[in-house]
Amino acid sequence: MIKTTAQKIYVALIFIFLYAPIFTLMVLSFNASKTRSKWGGFTIKWYKQLFQNEEIMEALWNTLLIAFLSALIATIIGTITCLAFNYLKKSNRAILLGMANIPMLNAEIVTGISLMLLFISLGIKFGFMTILLAHITFNIPYVILSVLPRMKQLNPSTYEAALDLGCNQWQAFFKVTFPDLLPGILSGFLMAFTMSLDDFVITHFTKGPGIDTLSTKIYTEVKKGIKPEMYSLSTIIFVAVLVLLLLVNYTPKDKKNK
């Protein structure tokens, strides 16, 4: 009895530590008073002001567009990479897979700076394109990580069965292999989308002046002094990422789980 109570308190404490900051932020985003230390009543005016702020709206649009495009392109490239992995010898596959995973473990700041240097040396003008390229780059490993396990579960005979039943190679892929991979591809896409939405460090180094995503926008705004709109913006981002993560986790990974 004491033991289970202690367990419950322990778990509760962990969750308080984890979520108290976010909860504070959410509460403050509805606070009518500008001072953080005083509750001035419930309001949604910060949200209204946020949506009237054109700079922030533009940053939001940039963020979503980059997240969508980079996730889409990374998903296509990553899936094709996985298909190619399938035809490699085991030893080669292990080496290449390791190489593909390293960028994911690499410190973001290192990835950010190296991408910046690469873009400078190639003479690419900083802006929307450089952010997009950077995001595609760091998203590909996440897609591979999510599609490859699905690929390994594939029964190689199903593709041959499709050929056997009259499909050409393209039909066999799109009618049989692709639907089997789809759960992995979808969760890879959502993961990439979330990662892109979430990114600050790499974007900061590859964006150049004149363009902002939400994260870099918040960073600049905060330097000028924190406005309550930023609380509402952060709350919205948190909720959006939370919803996406829930989606990723509830994508059916394996129908055979009975």
């Binding site: 005979s157 041959e160 056997d164 050409n168 009975k258």
Partner: protein, 361 residues
């Protein structure tokens, strides 16, 4: 004789420098149930995959109905394959699975619906149209895989160890089912298995393969009763394979004792291998004054197998494997008798190459 539907001529195939098939020649008659039988790695599956179009031979030609199809894509061949692990499309229900090949060929909806009904009836799974593959048992999934193949009306059905994943009882039921299907459809079956019992039960013709070579082609009776070499004898059923000398026609010396046999033409004093099936070794009671026997031995092991007792008898320095419904306890002295027509004489292989030479009917 019915005409040949498939001709494999001088087929060779290797992977990573390892020879899988070496100059294989084989013809398959129309409406035949032919089984490729052999241990894993003998080349049987590769042969089937070459027929299905999933592999291209390094050398040689494949003729189907007289037409060279060696380099034809799988989807252009008038044959269908039933895969070992069923290979059903898990995101489609049973009706969609069966309709798959017909939809690709743009058949009318009415035609497809008819075919689905017919195929499900044929494999005894009426009413399963809306079920998903995952909700079926292994045996049912395999029946669906067969239904999915045969609705395309192939002239030739290739079956790659289709019963390998099923348990023993189900496997035996499915064997009869397959024979019935073949008779109802009147098409040619090529069946790959490593299970000799399966091969003996179902086939019109068995092709025994080992290490990329055909060891023997024949009816199940021929393969069992008259194995061409020690490999075939050993692979098909249990047997006593003993090194012996052919003294003259109809007389062979086995382990120092002369046995009457029925084989002729091996020459005098020729080294040979003899095969004696365990059920052909008769044990007799030495106490019986009328008992007829050739050599004496001592029972060393007895195991009860249900249908029969399996015994080992030490005689003339050889452990004879015996299957018999009568039992002698361990340590009993017994007489061994073998009828002349139950002794199968085989030429000794002079080299490994000769052992592997393809011997046609």
């Amino acid at each position: 004789m019915k005409k040949a539907l498939v001709n494999l001529e001088h087929i060779s195939k290797s992977y990573d420098g390892q020879l899988i098939l070496d100059d294989l020649n084989l013809y398959i008659r129309e409406n035949e149930f032919l089984t490729l039988l052999g241990p894993s790695g003998c080349g049987k599956t590769t042969t089937l995959r070459i027929l299905g179009g999933f592999e291209t031979p390094d050398a040689g030609k494949v003729y189907f109905d007289g037409v060279d199809i060696t380099h034809l894509q799988p989807n252009k061949r008038q044959l269908n394959t039933v895969f070992q692990k069923y290979a059903l499309f898990t995101h489609m229900n049973i009706a969609e699975n069966i309709a798959f090949g017909l939809k690709i060929k743009n058949k009318s909806k009415a035609y497809i619906d008819d075919k689905i009904k017919y195929a499900l009836k044929l494999v005894n799974l009426d009413g399963y149209e809306k079920r998903m593959p995952d909700s079926l048992s292994g045996g049912q999934q395999q029946r669906i895989a067969i239904a999915r193949a045969i609705v395309n009306e192939p002239k030739l059905l290739l079956l790659d160890e289709p019963l390998g994943a099923l348990d023993l009882k189900l496997r035996q039921d499915m064997q009869y089912e397959l024979i019935r299907l073949k008779n109802e459809l009147g098409i040619t079956f090529i069946y790959v298995t490593h299970d000799q019992e399966e091969a003996l039960t179902m086939s019109d013709t068995i092709v025994v393969m080992n290490q990329g070579y055909i060891q023997q082609i024949g009816t199940p009776e021929m393969i069992y009763n008259e194995p061409e070499n020690a490999f075939v004898a050993d692979f098909i059923g249990e047997s006593n394979i003993i090194s012996a000398t052919m003294i003259q026609d109809r007389l062979v010396e086995i382990l120092g004792t002369k046995f009457a046999c029925v084989d002729e033409g091996f020459g005098n004093n020729t080294p040979v291998d003899v095969v004696i099936r365990p059920e052909d070794v008769e044990l007799v009671d030495l106490a019986d004054a009328n008992a007829k026997y050739i050599i004496e031995g001592t029972v060393t092991h007895v195991i009860f197998k249900g249908v029969h007792y399996e015994m080992e008898v030490m005689a003339n320095g050889f452990e004879w494997l015996v299957h018999s419904t009568g039992m002698f306890p361990v340590g009993t002295k017994v007489g061994i008798h073998v009828d002349p027509f139950n002794i199968q004489i085989m030429n000794k292989p002079e080299s490994e190459d000769e052992e592997a030479v393809g011997v046609n009917e």
